[in-house]
């Protein structure tokens, strides 16, 4: 392999990683934008998605069916969490809601260790994408291309949803002025619930499709959470565009850093974040949708 081909491989890996982060960051950003709540249990639902996936792929024998069922279960769990924990707290300080999501994260972390043990669990690729493909002499596992593709698709879908649909305009309005939305007669509780569940479902989805690459283990939840928070801080809270660019920036920096500056690999994304904050404390993109 030539240097260029190696670089291309690294870039593709970085992009795949970045788009995985984007799916997570998009969910986190959506929830924040609507509810002013930073969901500290975001990584936990990633974990749940991953663990469910490992089990269901085995049990159901069909990767795609397992994907649908896992995301569905995560959504139901999210709905239960929303109804039992967050909904009674909507008239309280946002901080209380953030604290609750943190408590939830602690519980899920320990529960996952209880149920699934502490060893790493892995999932196979779907049969369709288990091969490597060669593009211009660059060998890459086709699954990573799929992750990139799915990420792009999702970015487009979210853009269309928020910019071109009625639901989207309500959500956008809710982000800028919550009182107005409820004054216009929309059921704000239902919208909150819907957005929260969608955000968590995205996290679960990311957990499922990320597991063939990263594996899943108790403890990964907080690692993922921190990474996602960094992406969102760099991109700008509540900005979907910001989440997209920051995900790719962090994903590529992480991978290229590992490849070319291995001894600084773990520091490098924090440094990127620190620099961005120095220059633009509010993140690369301000709070605003697409």
């Amino acid at each position: 392999m030539s240097e260029i081909q190696t670089l291309a491989t690294h870039m593709l890996n970085g992009l795949a990683y970045g788009f995985l982060l984007f799916i997570l960051a998009a969910g986190l950003s959506l929830i924040f934008g609507m509810m002013d709540v930073i969901n500290l249990s975001h990584g936990s639902f990633y974990l749940v998605g991953g663990f469910l996936g490992v089990g269901l792929v085995d049990d159901l024998g069909n990767w795609w069916l397992a994907l649908a069922v896992s995301v569905g279960i995560v959504a139901v769990l999210g709905l239960i969490a929303e109804i039992s924990l967050l909904r009674p707290m909507y008239n309280r300080d946002h901080l209380d809601q953030i604290l609750l999501t943190f408590g939830l994260a602690l519980i899920i972390e320990d529960a996952s260790e209880w149920l699934f043990g502490t060893t790493i669990q892995s999932m196979s690729y779907p049969r369709l994408f288990s091969e490597t493909v060669e593009v211009f002499g660059v060998v890459i596992p086709s699954y990573r291309l799929i992750v990139i593709f799915v990420g792009l698709l999702l970015a487009g879908a979210l853009y269309l949803l928020l910019e071109r649909t009625r639901i989207g305009s309500i959500i956008r309005a809710g982000v800028s002025d919550r009182e107005m939305v409820s004054a216009l007669g929309f059921n704000i509780t239902a919208i909150f619930g819907g957005v929260f569940v969608c955000g968590l479902a995205l996290a679960g989805f990311a957990g499922f499709i990320g597991t063939p690459i990263l594996g899943v283990y108790s403890g990964l939840d907080f690692e993922i959470l921190i990474l996602t928070l960094i992406v969102v801080v760099v991109g700008g809270l509540g900005s979907l565009t910001g989440a997209l660019w920051a995900s790719l920036l962090i994903g590529l920096t992480q991978i290229l850093g590992q490849a070319y500056f291995p001894s600084f690999a773990s520091l490098i994304i924090y440094l990127v974040m620190a620099v961005v904050l120095l220059v633009r404390p509010q993140g690369l993109f301000q709070r605003r949708y697409a």
């Binding site: 392999m1 190696t6 491989t9 690294h10 890996n13 990683y17 260790e113 043990g117 502490t118 060893t119 790493i120 669990q121 892995s122 490597t132 060998v139 596992p141 990573r144 690459i213 990263l214 594996g215 283990y217 108790s218 403890g219 990964l220 690692e223 991978i255 590992q258 490849a259 291995p262 001894s263 690999a265 773990s266």
Partner: protein, 412 residues
């Protein structure tokens, strides 16, 4: 006056402060209550010394978190030995008091302190992580309590030559150095090295590189991903691009599973054979690695397929007792218990630290791993086996393909 009043303590505005004095009294009562609870809760464990008292052995191992399985294996290995002795040595019963170290050195040191101070244990054993071991060594040196390390492989743990510290696993160097020479002897000259970027990773890789260089081999390049890394694609790309004759790695636990699987998935296993430190392909990782582990050759002081009478008996007893296969970690625990037990037999149940140390120094025995004796730093002198992971008996096992005898840590 609402509950919000407490938001501003010491508010110097009349009405509320006048009522605050009883509040302060309530607070004092609360402190007193907590004090009592604290003392009462802790009080159960401590007993006073006496002739017929059991021998109290403190076990500090991870029972939760990423290393929980290792902790359990070591504990079971220890239990196996003591149960073989009828839970009694030299007429005194043996009591194992376990404390969880998690994967956190602070918790580990606190666990050791609790055992020493609250439970007044006479011997301490355990620690999976070297960081915990280093922390505990400071503690036991002050209190002069023999410390038998059943896993932590940090080179300096024994190289410091602290009289109360013993080890029944190995030093990092001991595990990895012999393979450097072995590879060169078997025609592999150019090797790529990778290990996680933390103390154990550096030590293991360091030992291997030393062995490789001593035998005239050549280090192609090296890579140190962060500990707990989950995506190795970048490093694998770099290895593939460097096209060495072989790759030597040390990873443990979760990292080992990820690395070995991804190594196989990237199709590297065929072009660049994978060698490594034995901990990379062990009982705790093999199941997760699956077929990806097959063909990997690693060096360690034990292999489940080792053919000697002690091992056969050990495996049989362990299986009947715990209904599963023993791992290397179980052997380490078994041998730690053996060392403690034999020393206690020699002192006839006397737990005086200096007498115990002297007795342990003289212990020499046939372990399931083969012959084992201690060097002057209390680190084992033992065989290192080159093992190959093969599919047999319906599962993947490490099969011994070569033996390097009586490997001794070079010391400080």
């Amino acid at each position: 006056m609402g509950k919000g009043d407490i938001l501003v303590p010491g508010t110097a505005n009349g009405a509320s402060t006048l009522r605050r004095f009883p509040f302060a009294v309530a607070m004092i009562l609360l402190v007193a209550f907590l004090l009592l609870v604290g003392c009462g809760g802790g009080g159960g464990g401590g007993g006073q010394g006496g002739g017929e008292d059991p021998i109290r052995i403190g076990v500090i191992l991870p029972y939760s978190g990423v290393y929980a399985q290792l902790g359990q294996d070591i504990t079971d290995g220890m239990n196996l030995y003591f149960e073989e002795q009828g839970m009694e040595i030299a007429g005194r019963s043996v009591e194992l008091i376990q404390e969880d170290t998690e994967a956190n050195p602070q918790v580990g040191v606190e666990a050791a302190r609790t055992l020493i101070e609250r439970d007044e244990v006479e011997i301490i054993t355990g620690t999976v992580s070297s960081a915990v071991a280093y922390g505990v060594i400071d503690l036991i040196s002050q209190d002069q309590i023999p410390f038998v390390i059943s896993n932590a492989t940090g080179n300096d743990v024994t190289r410091r030559g602290i009289p109360y510290v013993f080890r029944t696993s190995a030093s990092s160097w001991q595990v990895s150095y012999p393979m450097g020479g072995w590879l060169v002897d078997n025609g592999v000259q150019n090797v790529y090295v990778s290990a996680p970027d933390y103390a154990a990773g550096q030590e293991q890789a360091g030992g291997f590189k030393e062995g490789l260089a001593a035998a005239g081999g050549n280090l192609v390049d090296e890579a140190y991903p962060p500990l707990g890394n989950s995506d190795y694609s970048t490093y694998l790309t770099n290895i593939s691009q460097a096209s060495p004759q072989a790759e030597w790695s040390f990873y443990a636990g979760t990292d080992a599973v990820s690395f070995v699987r991804q190594y196989a998935e990237a199709g590297l296993k065929e072009s660049v054979p994978l060698y490594g430190s034995g901990y990379m392909v062990e009982a705790d990782t093999i199941e997760g690695q699956g077929d990806a582990a097959v063909g990997i050759r690693t060096g360690l002081f034990y292999a489940s397929g080792l053919d000697n009478p002690e091992n056969t008996a050990f495996i049989e007893n362990f299986q009947s007792q715990f209904d599963r296969d023993p791992s290397t970690y179980a052997v380490q625990g078994y041998d730690a218990a053996w060392l403690i037990g034999e020393a206690l037999k020699a002192t006839e149940g006397d737990t005086d630290p200096d007498a115990l140390v002297e007795a342990m120094e003289g212990v020499e025995f046939q372990s399931p791993r083969g012959p084992l004796s201690l060097d002057e730093n209390h680190n084992p002198i033992q065989n290192i086996y080159i093992r190959e992971a093969r599919e047999q008996n319906g599962r993947i096992e490490n099969v011994v393909i070569d033996t390097i005898e009586n490997v001794q840590d070079p010391g400080a």
